[in-house]
Amino acid sequence: MMRRCFVVLAAALTFGAGPALAEDTVPVGAIEILSGPSAAYGIAIRAGLELALDEVNVHGVLGGRKIALTIEDSAGLKDQAINAARKLIGRDKVIAIIGPTLSNEMFAVGPVTNERRIPTVGTSTTAVGVTAIGPFIFRTSLPEADVIPVTLKKAMSRGVKTIALVYANDDVFSKSGFDVMKAAAEKAGLNIVAIESFGSKDTDFSAQLTKIKALKPDAVGISALVEPTSGVLLQARQLGFGSETLFIGGNGANSPKLGEIAGAAADGLIVGSPWFIGKPDPANQQFVADFRKKYSKDPDQFAAQAFDALRIVAAAINRAGAADPVKLREALTQTTFSGVTGPFAFTAGRDPASAAGVVVLVMQGGKFGIAP
Protein backbone atom coordinates (compact mmCIF):
# COMPACT_ATOMS: atom_id res chain seq x y z
CA MET A 1 0.00 0.00 0.00
CA MET A 2 2.67 2.42 1.11
CA ARG A 3 4.79 1.56 -1.90
CA ARG A 4 1.95 2.24 -4.27
CA CYS A 5 1.46 5.63 -2.63
CA PHE A 6 5.05 6.55 -3.32
CA VAL A 7 4.85 5.46 -6.93
CA VAL A 8 1.80 7.64 -7.42
CA LEU A 9 3.52 10.54 -5.72
CA ALA A 10 6.64 10.19 -7.81
CA ALA A 11 4.52 10.08 -10.92
CA ALA A 12 2.69 13.19 -9.83
CA LEU A 13 5.97 14.95 -9.21
CA THR A 14 7.44 13.99 -12.55
CA PHE A 15 4.54 14.49 -14.86
CA GLY A 16 2.25 16.70 -12.79
CA ALA A 17 0.90 20.09 -13.62
CA GLY A 18 2.95 22.65 -15.48
CA PRO A 19 2.29 24.42 -18.70
CA ALA A 20 2.58 22.51 -21.93
CA LEU A 21 5.65 24.06 -23.45
CA ALA A 22 5.01 24.99 -27.02
CA GLU A 23 8.22 25.30 -28.99
CA ASP A 24 7.67 28.88 -29.88
CA THR A 25 7.18 30.36 -26.41
CA VAL A 26 9.83 31.85 -24.20
CA PRO A 27 9.42 30.47 -20.68
CA VAL A 28 9.72 32.99 -17.85
CA GLY A 29 8.93 32.24 -14.23
CA ALA A 30 7.78 34.29 -11.30
CA ILE A 31 7.71 33.45 -7.60
CA GLU A 32 5.30 35.53 -5.57
CA ILE A 33 3.40 35.27 -2.30
CA LEU A 34 -0.11 34.39 -3.38
CA SER A 35 -1.37 32.90 -0.12
CA GLY A 36 -0.81 33.35 3.58
CA PRO A 37 -0.49 36.50 5.66
CA SER A 38 1.57 38.52 3.15
CA ALA A 39 -0.46 37.53 0.11
CA ALA A 40 -1.56 41.10 -0.59
CA TYR A 41 1.86 42.00 -1.99
CA GLY A 42 2.15 39.00 -4.27
CA ILE A 43 -1.36 39.41 -5.59
CA ALA A 44 -0.68 43.05 -6.53
CA ILE A 45 2.53 41.99 -8.24
CA ARG A 46 0.79 39.22 -10.15
CA ALA A 47 -1.76 41.74 -11.41
CA GLY A 48 1.03 43.99 -12.67
CA LEU A 49 2.86 41.09 -14.31
CA GLU A 50 -0.20 39.77 -16.09
CA LEU A 51 -1.12 43.19 -17.37
CA ALA A 52 2.42 43.57 -18.74
CA LEU A 53 2.23 40.08 -20.22
CA ASP A 54 -0.88 41.04 -22.20
CA GLU A 55 0.96 44.04 -23.58
CA VAL A 56 4.21 42.20 -24.38
CA ASN A 57 2.50 39.25 -26.04
CA VAL A 58 0.64 41.45 -28.51
CA HIS A 59 3.86 41.56 -30.47
CA GLY A 60 5.86 38.86 -28.68
CA VAL A 61 9.60 38.78 -28.30
CA LEU A 62 12.37 37.57 -30.58
CA GLY A 63 10.22 38.25 -33.59
CA GLY A 64 6.84 37.06 -32.47
CA ARG A 65 7.42 34.36 -29.86
CA LYS A 66 5.13 34.72 -26.90
CA ILE A 67 6.39 34.80 -23.32
CA ALA A 68 4.95 31.90 -21.28
CA LEU A 69 4.81 33.20 -17.74
CA THR A 70 4.54 30.62 -14.95
CA ILE A 71 3.77 32.14 -11.56
CA GLU A 72 4.49 30.00 -8.51
CA ASP A 73 3.21 30.65 -4.99
CA SER A 74 5.80 30.85 -2.23
CA ALA A 75 3.25 31.49 0.54
CA GLY A 76 5.98 33.64 2.05
CA LEU A 77 7.79 30.49 3.15
CA LYS A 78 11.47 30.08 2.50
CA ASP A 79 11.29 26.41 1.62
CA GLN A 80 8.36 26.79 -0.68
CA ALA A 81 10.11 29.65 -2.46
CA ILE A 82 13.22 27.50 -3.02
CA ASN A 83 11.13 24.58 -4.23
CA ALA A 84 9.35 26.91 -6.63
CA ALA A 85 12.64 28.23 -8.00
CA ARG A 86 14.03 24.73 -8.48
CA LYS A 87 10.85 23.62 -10.19
CA LEU A 88 10.78 26.63 -12.51
CA ILE A 89 14.38 26.08 -13.52
CA GLY A 90 14.53 22.29 -13.52
CA ARG A 91 11.17 21.49 -15.02
CA ASP A 92 9.77 24.55 -16.73
CA LYS A 93 13.25 25.50 -18.03
CA VAL A 94 12.60 29.19 -17.54
CA ILE A 95 15.26 31.58 -18.73
CA ALA A 96 14.51 34.21 -16.12
CA ILE A 97 12.69 34.48 -12.82
CA ILE A 98 10.83 37.51 -11.58
CA GLY A 99 10.57 37.79 -7.83
CA PRO A 100 10.48 36.50 -5.19
CA THR A 101 8.39 38.98 -3.25
CA LEU A 102 10.31 39.46 -0.01
CA SER A 103 13.96 40.19 0.52
CA ASN A 104 14.44 37.25 2.86
CA GLU A 105 12.94 34.94 0.25
CA MET A 106 15.48 36.34 -2.18
CA PHE A 107 18.27 35.54 0.27
CA ALA A 108 17.14 31.91 0.12
CA VAL A 109 16.26 31.71 -3.58
CA GLY A 110 19.03 33.91 -4.99
CA PRO A 111 21.93 31.53 -4.27
CA VAL A 112 20.04 28.70 -5.99
CA THR A 113 19.17 30.61 -9.16
CA ASN A 114 22.57 32.29 -9.25
CA GLU A 115 24.28 28.89 -9.08
CA ARG A 116 22.20 27.78 -12.08
CA ARG A 117 22.94 31.06 -13.91
CA ILE A 118 19.32 32.10 -14.29
CA PRO A 119 18.77 35.88 -14.19
CA THR A 120 16.51 36.71 -11.27
CA VAL A 121 14.81 40.07 -11.08
CA GLY A 122 13.31 41.22 -7.81
CA THR A 123 10.54 43.79 -8.15
CA SER A 124 9.88 44.42 -4.49
CA THR A 125 13.08 43.40 -2.72
CA THR A 126 14.47 46.55 -1.24
CA ALA A 127 16.82 45.23 1.46
CA VAL A 128 20.52 45.91 1.55
CA GLY A 129 22.66 43.17 0.04
CA VAL A 130 20.08 41.53 -2.20
CA THR A 131 22.00 42.05 -5.45
CA ALA A 132 25.29 41.18 -3.76
CA ILE A 133 24.14 37.53 -3.74
CA GLY A 134 25.63 37.08 -7.20
CA PRO A 135 25.97 38.32 -10.77
CA PHE A 136 22.61 36.88 -11.84
CA ILE A 137 20.58 38.70 -9.19
CA PHE A 138 18.93 41.96 -10.28
CA ARG A 139 16.24 44.18 -8.94
CA THR A 140 14.07 46.85 -10.46
CA SER A 141 12.78 48.14 -7.14
CA LEU A 142 14.71 51.10 -5.90
CA PRO A 143 16.49 50.10 -2.72
CA GLU A 144 15.46 52.18 0.24
CA ALA A 145 18.96 53.59 0.20
CA ASP A 146 17.96 55.56 -2.87
CA VAL A 147 14.54 56.67 -1.71
CA ILE A 148 15.10 57.70 1.89
CA PRO A 149 17.71 60.42 1.22
CA VAL A 150 15.25 62.15 -1.10
CA THR A 151 12.61 62.07 1.61
CA LEU A 152 15.02 63.33 4.25
CA LYS A 153 16.11 66.17 2.00
CA LYS A 154 12.52 67.27 1.72
CA ALA A 155 12.18 67.10 5.50
CA MET A 156 15.31 69.15 6.03
CA SER A 157 14.06 71.75 3.61
CA ARG A 158 11.21 72.19 6.07
CA GLY A 159 13.63 72.92 8.88
CA VAL A 160 13.95 69.47 10.47
CA LYS A 161 17.17 69.22 12.48
CA THR A 162 16.49 66.48 15.03
CA ILE A 163 14.86 63.15 14.37
CA ALA A 164 13.74 60.12 16.35
CA LEU A 165 13.56 56.73 14.62
CA VAL A 166 11.10 53.94 15.38
CA TYR A 167 11.00 50.64 13.55
CA ALA A 168 9.63 47.13 13.64
CA ASN A 169 12.58 44.95 14.53
CA ASP A 170 11.12 41.62 13.49
CA ASP A 171 10.67 41.81 9.75
CA VAL A 172 13.37 42.14 7.14
CA PHE A 173 11.66 44.88 5.26
CA SER A 174 11.33 47.20 8.25
CA LYS A 175 14.71 46.42 9.76
CA SER A 176 16.64 47.03 6.58
CA GLY A 177 14.59 50.16 5.95
CA PHE A 178 15.58 51.34 9.39
CA ASP A 179 19.26 50.62 8.78
CA VAL A 180 19.07 52.75 5.68
CA MET A 181 17.13 55.50 7.41
CA LYS A 182 19.67 55.66 10.20
CA ALA A 183 22.62 55.78 7.82
CA ALA A 184 20.93 58.39 5.64
CA ALA A 185 20.03 60.57 8.63
CA GLU A 186 23.59 60.44 9.89
CA LYS A 187 24.93 61.27 6.46
CA ALA A 188 22.53 64.16 6.10
CA GLY A 189 23.75 65.56 9.40
CA LEU A 190 20.50 65.12 11.28
CA ASN A 191 20.70 64.70 15.02
CA ILE A 192 19.20 61.31 15.96
CA VAL A 193 17.77 61.77 19.44
CA ALA A 194 16.23 58.34 19.97
CA ILE A 195 15.96 54.92 18.38
CA GLU A 196 13.04 52.75 19.47
CA SER A 197 11.80 49.42 18.19
CA PHE A 198 8.63 47.33 18.40
CA GLY A 199 7.25 44.09 16.98
CA SER A 200 5.30 44.25 13.74
CA LYS A 201 2.31 42.63 15.46
CA ASP A 202 2.44 45.01 18.42
CA THR A 203 -0.50 47.25 19.01
CA ASP A 204 0.81 49.34 21.87
CA PHE A 205 3.56 51.84 21.21
CA SER A 206 2.82 54.19 24.09
CA ALA A 207 6.05 53.58 25.98
CA GLN A 208 8.25 54.32 22.99
CA LEU A 209 6.22 57.34 21.92
CA THR A 210 6.05 58.83 25.40
CA LYS A 211 9.81 58.62 25.59
CA ILE A 212 10.20 60.27 22.19
CA LYS A 213 7.70 62.99 22.98
CA ALA A 214 9.72 64.04 25.99
CA LEU A 215 12.74 64.55 23.70
CA LYS A 216 10.77 66.86 21.36
CA PRO A 217 12.35 65.90 18.02
CA ASP A 218 11.47 67.88 14.89
CA ALA A 219 10.65 64.67 13.05
CA VAL A 220 9.87 61.02 13.70
CA GLY A 221 10.98 58.45 11.09
CA ILE A 222 8.95 55.23 11.01
CA SER A 223 10.20 52.11 9.28
CA ALA A 224 7.46 49.51 9.46
CA LEU A 225 4.76 47.90 7.36
CA VAL A 226 1.62 49.90 6.86
CA GLU A 227 -0.40 48.43 9.74
CA PRO A 228 2.02 49.16 12.57
CA THR A 229 2.86 52.50 10.95
CA SER A 230 -0.83 53.39 11.22
CA GLY A 231 -0.85 52.20 14.82
CA VAL A 232 2.10 54.39 15.69
CA LEU A 233 0.47 57.43 14.12
CA LEU A 234 -2.86 56.88 15.84
CA GLN A 235 -1.28 56.43 19.21
CA ALA A 236 1.05 59.36 18.69
CA ARG A 237 -1.94 61.63 18.18
CA GLN A 238 -3.50 60.19 21.34
CA LEU A 239 -0.36 61.03 23.25
CA GLY A 240 -0.46 64.59 21.99
CA PHE A 241 1.94 64.72 19.05
CA GLY A 242 0.75 67.65 16.95
CA SER A 243 1.61 69.12 13.58
CA GLU A 244 4.86 70.54 14.96
CA THR A 245 6.31 67.02 14.59
CA LEU A 246 6.89 65.83 11.03
CA PHE A 247 6.29 62.13 10.54
CA ILE A 248 8.41 60.48 7.87
CA GLY A 249 7.42 57.09 6.55
CA GLY A 250 9.60 54.38 5.11
CA ASN A 251 8.59 52.37 2.10
CA GLY A 252 5.98 50.53 4.18
CA ALA A 253 4.01 53.72 4.72
CA ASN A 254 3.67 54.11 0.96
CA SER A 255 0.30 52.43 0.75
CA PRO A 256 -3.23 53.72 0.34
CA LYS A 257 -4.13 51.58 3.37
CA LEU A 258 -2.39 54.12 5.56
CA GLY A 259 -5.18 56.59 4.96
CA GLU A 260 -7.84 53.93 5.44
CA ILE A 261 -6.53 52.76 8.81
CA ALA A 262 -4.99 55.85 10.34
CA GLY A 263 -7.39 58.42 8.86
CA ALA A 264 -6.71 61.95 9.96
CA ALA A 265 -3.93 60.79 12.26
CA ALA A 266 -1.74 60.26 9.20
CA ASP A 267 -2.20 63.77 7.89
CA GLY A 268 1.08 65.50 7.19
CA LEU A 269 3.17 62.34 6.97
CA ILE A 270 5.66 62.39 4.10
CA VAL A 271 7.00 59.40 2.29
CA GLY A 272 9.27 58.88 -0.70
CA SER A 273 7.97 56.70 -3.49
CA PRO A 274 9.40 55.39 -6.73
CA TRP A 275 5.96 55.70 -8.27
CA PHE A 276 2.77 57.63 -7.71
CA ILE A 277 -0.64 56.89 -9.13
CA GLY A 278 -1.22 60.55 -9.94
CA LYS A 279 2.02 60.96 -11.85
CA PRO A 280 0.87 62.86 -14.93
CA ASP A 281 3.01 61.36 -17.71
CA PRO A 282 0.93 59.62 -20.41
CA ALA A 283 2.57 56.19 -19.99
CA ASN A 284 1.59 56.13 -16.35
CA GLN A 285 -1.91 57.38 -16.99
CA GLN A 286 -2.35 54.70 -19.65
CA PHE A 287 -1.13 52.04 -17.16
CA VAL A 288 -3.49 53.23 -14.46
CA ALA A 289 -6.40 53.25 -16.88
CA ASP A 290 -5.59 49.77 -18.22
CA PHE A 291 -5.15 48.39 -14.74
CA ARG A 292 -8.47 49.80 -13.58
CA LYS A 293 -10.13 48.38 -16.64
CA LYS A 294 -8.73 44.89 -16.12
CA TYR A 295 -9.00 44.60 -12.33
CA SER A 296 -11.56 47.28 -11.36
CA LYS A 297 -9.24 48.67 -8.72
CA ASP A 298 -6.34 51.05 -8.39
CA PRO A 299 -2.80 49.79 -8.93
CA ASP A 300 -0.27 50.26 -6.18
CA GLN A 301 3.46 50.70 -6.27
CA PHE A 302 4.08 46.92 -6.28
CA ALA A 303 1.88 46.43 -9.33
CA ALA A 304 3.58 49.32 -11.10
CA GLN A 305 7.05 47.99 -10.39
CA ALA A 306 6.06 44.51 -11.55
CA PHE A 307 4.47 45.97 -14.66
CA ASP A 308 7.77 47.58 -15.56
CA ALA A 309 9.87 44.58 -14.57
CA LEU A 310 8.31 42.15 -17.01
CA ARG A 311 8.60 44.70 -19.81
CA ILE A 312 12.25 45.29 -18.93
CA VAL A 313 12.87 41.54 -19.08
CA ALA A 314 11.06 41.34 -22.43
CA ALA A 315 13.15 44.20 -23.80
CA ALA A 316 16.31 42.46 -22.60
CA ILE A 317 15.28 39.17 -24.24
CA ASN A 318 14.95 41.04 -27.51
CA ARG A 319 18.33 42.66 -26.99
CA ALA A 320 19.89 39.25 -26.18
CA GLY A 321 18.52 37.91 -29.44
CA ALA A 322 17.99 34.42 -28.05
CA ALA A 323 16.15 32.68 -25.23
CA ASP A 324 19.37 32.08 -23.37
CA PRO A 325 19.86 32.91 -19.68
CA VAL A 326 23.50 33.94 -19.89
CA LYS A 327 22.97 36.18 -22.90
CA LEU A 328 19.90 37.58 -21.14
CA ARG A 329 22.02 38.49 -18.15
CA GLU A 330 24.41 40.46 -20.35
CA ALA A 331 21.48 42.10 -22.10
CA LEU A 332 19.83 43.10 -18.82
CA THR A 333 22.93 44.97 -17.72
CA GLN A 334 22.74 47.06 -20.91
CA THR A 335 19.00 47.54 -21.22
CA THR A 336 17.57 51.00 -20.84
CA PHE A 337 13.89 51.43 -20.60
CA SER A 338 11.30 54.06 -19.98
CA GLY A 339 8.54 52.74 -17.78
CA VAL A 340 5.74 53.94 -15.58
CA THR A 341 8.21 54.31 -12.72
CA GLY A 342 10.42 56.56 -14.82
CA PRO A 343 13.54 56.05 -16.90
CA PHE A 344 15.27 52.81 -16.07
CA ALA A 345 18.69 51.18 -16.34
CA PHE A 346 20.73 48.85 -14.15
CA THR A 347 23.90 49.94 -12.36
CA ALA A 348 27.02 47.79 -12.45
CA GLY A 349 25.76 46.38 -9.18
CA ARG A 350 22.46 45.35 -10.88
CA ASP A 351 20.40 47.86 -8.90
CA PRO A 352 18.25 50.52 -10.52
CA ALA A 353 20.52 53.30 -11.73
CA SER A 354 18.31 56.28 -11.32
CA ALA A 355 16.40 57.67 -8.41
CA ALA A 356 15.06 60.42 -10.62
CA GLY A 357 11.61 58.87 -10.54
CA VAL A 358 11.32 59.25 -6.77
CA VAL A 359 8.58 61.58 -5.65
CA VAL A 360 7.92 62.70 -2.13
CA LEU A 361 4.28 62.28 -1.19
CA VAL A 362 2.33 63.82 1.63
CA MET A 363 -0.76 62.40 3.26
CA GLN A 364 -3.70 64.76 3.41
CA GLY A 365 -7.26 63.80 4.23
CA GLY A 366 -6.59 60.09 3.82
CA LYS A 367 -4.98 60.42 0.36
CA PHE A 368 -1.46 60.86 -0.89
CA GLY A 369 -0.56 63.83 -2.98
CA ILE A 370 2.76 65.17 -4.19
CA ALA A 371 4.42 67.04 -1.37
CA PRO A 372 4.78 70.76 -2.00
Partner: protein
Protein backbone atom coordinates in the same frame (compact mmCIF):
# COMPACT_ATOMS: atom_id res chain seq x y z
CA UNK B 1 23.69 10.11 -15.05
CA UNK B 2 21.20 10.99 -17.79
CA UNK B 3 20.39 14.64 -18.03
CA UNK B 4 16.74 14.29 -17.19
CA UNK B 5 17.55 12.44 -13.98
CA UNK B 6 20.12 15.05 -13.07
CA UNK B 7 17.53 17.74 -13.65
CA UNK B 8 14.94 15.82 -11.71
CA UNK B 9 17.22 15.44 -8.70
CA UNK B 10 18.30 19.03 -8.87
CA UNK B 11 14.72 20.22 -9.13
CA UNK B 12 13.61 18.27 -6.10
CA UNK B 13 16.82 18.50 -4.06
CA UNK B 14 15.37 20.96 -1.61
CA UNK B 15 12.22 18.90 -1.27
CA UNK B 16 14.25 15.75 -0.71
CA UNK B 17 16.28 17.51 1.96
CA UNK B 18 13.09 18.80 3.54
CA UNK B 19 11.77 15.24 3.73
CA UNK B 20 14.80 14.12 5.71
CA UNK B 21 14.93 17.17 7.93
CA UNK B 22 11.21 17.11 8.68
CA UNK B 23 11.59 13.40 9.42
CA UNK B 24 14.19 14.23 12.06
CA UNK B 25 11.94 16.91 13.49
CA UNK B 26 9.02 14.49 13.64
CA UNK B 27 11.24 12.08 15.57
CA UNK B 28 12.24 14.84 17.95
CA UNK B 29 8.55 15.31 18.70
CA UNK B 30 8.04 11.56 18.89
CA UNK B 31 10.54 11.00 21.70
CA UNK B 32 8.79 13.56 23.88
CA UNK B 33 5.29 12.31 23.10
CA UNK B 34 6.54 8.78 23.74
CA UNK B 35 6.90 9.61 27.44
CA UNK B 36 3.52 11.32 27.55
CA UNK B 37 4.84 14.88 27.47
CA UNK B 38 4.06 17.71 25.10
CA UNK B 39 6.79 20.11 24.15
CA UNK B 40 6.33 22.96 21.72
CA UNK B 41 10.01 23.75 21.91
CA UNK B 42 11.15 21.67 18.95
CA UNK B 43 11.16 24.69 16.67
CA UNK B 44 13.12 26.63 19.28
CA UNK B 45 15.66 23.80 19.60
CA UNK B 46 15.88 23.65 15.83
CA UNK B 47 16.52 27.40 15.75
CA UNK B 48 19.28 27.08 18.34
CA UNK B 49 20.90 24.32 16.30
CA UNK B 50 20.57 26.37 13.14
CA UNK B 51 21.95 29.60 14.55
CA UNK B 52 24.80 28.00 16.46
CA UNK B 53 25.85 25.87 13.49
CA UNK B 54 25.72 28.81 11.12
CA UNK B 55 27.88 30.90 13.43
CA UNK B 56 30.39 28.05 13.64
CA UNK B 57 30.45 27.81 9.87
CA UNK B 58 30.50 31.51 9.03
CA UNK B 59 32.66 32.90 11.83
CA UNK B 60 35.00 30.02 12.61
CA UNK B 61 34.81 28.23 9.27
CA UNK B 62 34.80 24.82 10.94
CA UNK B 63 34.24 21.78 8.70
CA UNK B 64 30.62 20.73 8.59
CA UNK B 65 31.23 17.33 10.12
CA UNK B 66 32.58 19.11 13.20
CA UNK B 67 29.79 21.68 13.14
CA UNK B 68 27.07 19.06 13.10
CA UNK B 69 27.74 17.48 16.51
CA UNK B 70 28.46 20.90 18.04
CA UNK B 71 25.08 22.15 16.87
CA UNK B 72 23.44 19.96 19.51
CA UNK B 73 25.16 21.71 22.40
CA UNK B 74 23.01 24.83 22.64
CA UNK B 75 19.68 22.98 22.27
CA UNK B 76 20.71 20.51 24.96
CA UNK B 77 21.67 23.27 27.38
CA UNK B 78 18.35 25.02 26.84
CA UNK B 79 16.47 21.74 27.18
CA UNK B 80 18.11 21.28 30.57
CA UNK B 81 17.21 24.80 31.63
CA UNK B 82 13.58 24.30 30.64
CA UNK B 83 13.26 20.66 31.59
CA UNK B 84 14.74 20.55 35.07
CA UNK B 85 12.24 22.93 36.69
CA UNK B 86 9.14 21.96 34.70
CA UNK B 87 9.34 18.21 34.36
CA UNK B 88 8.43 17.67 37.97
CA UNK B 89 5.21 19.60 37.33
CA UNK B 90 2.21 18.52 35.31
CA UNK B 91 2.75 18.21 31.57
CA UNK B 92 0.95 21.45 30.81
CA UNK B 93 3.77 23.48 32.30
CA UNK B 94 6.38 22.02 29.98
CA UNK B 95 4.19 22.90 27.02
CA UNK B 96 3.81 26.49 28.17
CA UNK B 97 7.44 26.89 29.16
CA UNK B 98 8.58 25.67 25.76
CA UNK B 99 6.30 28.17 24.01
CA UNK B 100 7.86 30.84 26.23
CA UNK B 101 11.33 29.63 25.32
CA UNK B 102 10.59 30.02 21.63
CA UNK B 103 9.48 33.61 22.14
CA UNK B 104 12.45 34.56 24.31
CA UNK B 105 14.85 33.16 21.74
CA UNK B 106 13.07 34.98 18.95
CA UNK B 107 13.46 38.24 20.84
CA UNK B 108 17.17 37.46 21.29
CA UNK B 109 17.74 36.76 17.59
CA UNK B 110 15.94 39.98 16.72
CA UNK B 111 17.85 42.18 19.10
CA UNK B 112 21.39 40.86 18.92
CA UNK B 113 23.16 42.50 16.02
CA UNK B 114 25.68 39.78 15.29
CA UNK B 115 22.78 37.34 14.91
CA UNK B 116 21.55 39.50 12.05
CA UNK B 117 18.34 40.78 13.67
CA UNK B 118 15.33 40.41 11.45
CA UNK B 119 17.62 40.06 8.43
CA UNK B 120 18.80 36.73 9.77
CA UNK B 121 21.99 35.14 8.58
CA UNK B 122 22.55 34.65 4.90
CA UNK B 123 25.30 33.36 2.63
CA UNK B 124 25.34 29.98 4.34
CA UNK B 125 27.25 27.44 2.23
CA UNK B 126 25.13 24.47 1.17
CA UNK B 127 27.13 21.84 2.98
CA UNK B 128 24.32 19.52 4.02
CA UNK B 129 24.38 16.54 1.68
CA UNK B 130 21.53 14.14 1.19
CA UNK B 131 23.58 11.25 2.52
CA UNK B 132 24.18 13.08 5.81
CA UNK B 133 20.52 13.94 6.24
CA UNK B 134 19.22 10.50 5.40
CA UNK B 135 22.09 8.77 7.17
CA UNK B 136 21.22 10.59 10.38
CA UNK B 137 17.53 9.96 9.87
CA UNK B 138 18.22 6.25 9.35
CA UNK B 139 20.43 6.07 12.42
CA UNK B 140 17.82 7.89 14.47
CA UNK B 141 15.04 5.57 13.36
CA UNK B 142 17.12 2.47 14.07
CA UNK B 143 18.27 3.76 17.44
CA UNK B 144 14.74 4.70 18.47
CA UNK B 145 13.48 1.38 17.22
CA UNK B 146 16.13 -0.43 19.26
CA UNK B 147 15.25 1.65 22.30
CA UNK B 148 11.58 0.94 21.77
CA UNK B 149 12.21 -2.78 21.87
CA UNK B 150 13.95 -2.82 25.22
CA UNK B 151 13.43 -2.13 28.89
CA UNK B 152 13.84 1.58 28.17
CA UNK B 153 11.07 1.47 25.57
CA UNK B 154 8.81 -0.45 27.95
CA UNK B 155 9.44 2.15 30.63
CA UNK B 156 8.59 4.94 28.18
CA UNK B 157 5.39 3.21 27.10
CA UNK B 158 4.46 2.61 30.73
CA UNK B 159 4.94 6.28 31.59
CA UNK B 160 2.75 7.28 28.68
CA UNK B 161 -0.02 4.96 29.74
CA UNK B 162 -0.07 5.46 33.48
CA UNK B 163 2.47 7.58 35.30
CA UNK B 164 1.57 6.36 38.76
CA UNK B 165 1.69 2.70 37.84
CA UNK B 166 4.97 3.30 36.00
CA UNK B 167 6.47 4.86 39.10
CA UNK B 168 5.44 1.87 41.15
CA UNK B 169 7.23 -0.33 38.60
CA UNK B 170 10.43 1.38 39.75
CA UNK B 171 10.61 3.81 36.86
CA UNK B 172 12.13 7.20 37.60
CA UNK B 173 9.76 9.51 35.73
CA UNK B 174 11.93 12.61 35.85
CA UNK B 175 14.93 10.77 34.44
CA UNK B 176 13.04 9.40 31.47
CA UNK B 177 11.27 12.66 30.76
CA UNK B 178 14.46 14.66 30.91
CA UNK B 179 16.25 12.05 28.81
CA UNK B 180 13.50 12.26 26.21
CA UNK B 181 13.61 16.03 26.15
CA UNK B 182 17.39 15.97 25.71
CA UNK B 183 17.15 13.44 22.89
CA UNK B 184 14.50 15.63 21.34
CA UNK B 185 16.79 18.65 21.60
CA UNK B 186 19.63 16.73 19.94
CA UNK B 187 17.46 15.61 17.03
CA UNK B 188 15.96 19.06 16.56
CA UNK B 189 19.38 20.70 16.81
CA UNK B 190 20.73 18.40 14.09
CA UNK B 191 17.70 19.10 11.94
CA UNK B 192 18.25 22.83 12.43
CA UNK B 193 21.91 22.63 11.42
CA UNK B 194 21.11 20.51 8.37
CA UNK B 195 18.25 22.76 7.34
CA UNK B 196 20.36 25.90 7.68
CA UNK B 197 23.14 24.39 5.57
CA UNK B 198 20.81 23.42 2.78
CA UNK B 199 18.98 26.69 2.28
CA UNK B 200 21.63 29.46 2.48
CA UNK B 201 19.50 31.72 4.67
CA UNK B 202 17.96 31.55 8.13
CA UNK B 203 15.82 34.11 9.88
CA UNK B 204 14.34 34.47 13.36
CA UNK B 205 10.76 33.97 12.22
CA UNK B 206 11.31 30.44 10.97
CA UNK B 207 11.48 28.93 14.43
CA UNK B 208 8.32 30.21 16.06
CA UNK B 209 5.04 28.80 17.21
CA UNK B 210 3.62 27.65 13.87
CA UNK B 211 6.53 25.41 12.90
CA UNK B 212 6.27 23.86 16.36
CA UNK B 213 2.62 23.04 15.79
CA UNK B 214 3.38 21.73 12.31
CA UNK B 215 5.95 19.35 13.80
CA UNK B 216 3.32 18.17 16.26
CA UNK B 217 0.95 17.47 13.38
CA UNK B 218 3.65 15.34 11.70
CA UNK B 219 3.86 13.13 14.74
CA UNK B 220 0.14 12.92 15.39
CA UNK B 221 -0.70 12.15 11.77
CA UNK B 222 1.74 9.27 11.65
CA UNK B 223 0.99 8.08 15.15
CA UNK B 224 3.52 7.41 17.85
CA UNK B 225 3.30 3.64 18.05
CA UNK B 226 6.64 3.29 16.28
CA UNK B 227 9.32 5.75 15.19
CA UNK B 228 8.32 5.17 11.57
CA UNK B 229 4.87 6.66 12.05
CA UNK B 230 5.98 10.25 12.68
CA UNK B 231 8.46 10.09 9.81
CA UNK B 232 5.76 8.98 7.40
CA UNK B 233 3.49 11.69 8.80
CA UNK B 234 6.19 14.27 8.14
CA UNK B 235 6.67 13.00 4.59
CA UNK B 236 2.99 13.16 3.78
CA UNK B 237 2.64 16.69 5.11
CA UNK B 238 5.81 17.79 3.31
CA UNK B 239 4.80 16.35 -0.04
CA UNK B 240 1.15 17.32 0.04
CA UNK B 241 1.60 21.03 -0.71
CA UNK B 242 3.90 20.10 -3.60
CA UNK B 243 1.51 17.61 -5.09
CA UNK B 244 -1.79 19.37 -4.54
CA UNK B 245 -1.65 22.77 -6.08
CA UNK B 246 -3.54 25.45 -4.30
CA UNK B 247 -3.26 23.41 -1.17
CA UNK B 248 -0.73 25.72 0.40
CA UNK B 249 -3.45 28.23 1.19
CA UNK B 250 -5.09 25.69 3.42
CA UNK B 251 -1.92 23.98 4.61
CA UNK B 252 -2.20 25.23 8.18
CA UNK B 253 -5.93 24.56 8.32
CA UNK B 254 -5.18 21.01 7.30
CA UNK B 255 -2.41 20.60 9.88
CA UNK B 256 -4.72 21.87 12.59
CA UNK B 257 -7.55 19.60 11.56
CA UNK B 258 -5.19 16.63 11.58
CA UNK B 259 -4.27 17.34 15.18
CA UNK B 260 -7.91 17.65 16.19
CA UNK B 261 -8.97 14.47 14.42
CA UNK B 262 -5.97 12.52 15.67
CA UNK B 263 -6.63 13.47 19.27
CA UNK B 264 -10.38 12.91 19.11
CA UNK B 265 -10.69 9.88 16.87
CA UNK B 266 -7.33 8.34 16.02
CA UNK B 267 -5.16 8.38 19.11
CA UNK B 268 -2.98 5.79 17.42
CA UNK B 269 -2.41 7.99 14.38
CA UNK B 270 -2.85 7.21 10.74
CA UNK B 271 -0.49 4.26 10.92
CA UNK B 272 -1.90 2.53 13.92
CA UNK B 273 1.21 0.42 14.15
CA UNK B 274 2.58 -0.91 17.35
CA UNK B 275 5.89 -2.53 17.93
CA UNK B 276 6.92 -5.45 20.06
CA UNK B 277 8.44 -4.03 23.19
CA UNK B 278 10.96 -6.75 23.85
CA UNK B 279 13.90 -8.14 21.97
CA UNK B 280 13.98 -11.81 22.97
Amino acid sequence: MPEWLDDFLWTYQNLVHALGINGLLALSMYVVLAVGQLSLGQAAFMGLGAYSSVLLTLKLDLPFLAVLPLSCVAPVLFALAIGVPTLRLSGVYLAIATIGLGEVLRAVYLNVDWLGGALGLSGIPGRAESWMIFGLLGVAILALWAVGRSAIGRAMAAIREDETAAQVMGINLARYRLGALLASAVLAGLAGALGAHSSSFIGPNEYGFEPAVTILSFALLGGIGTPLGPVVGAWILTLLPEVLRGFSDLRLVFNGVIIVLAVLFLPEGLLALRMRRHAA
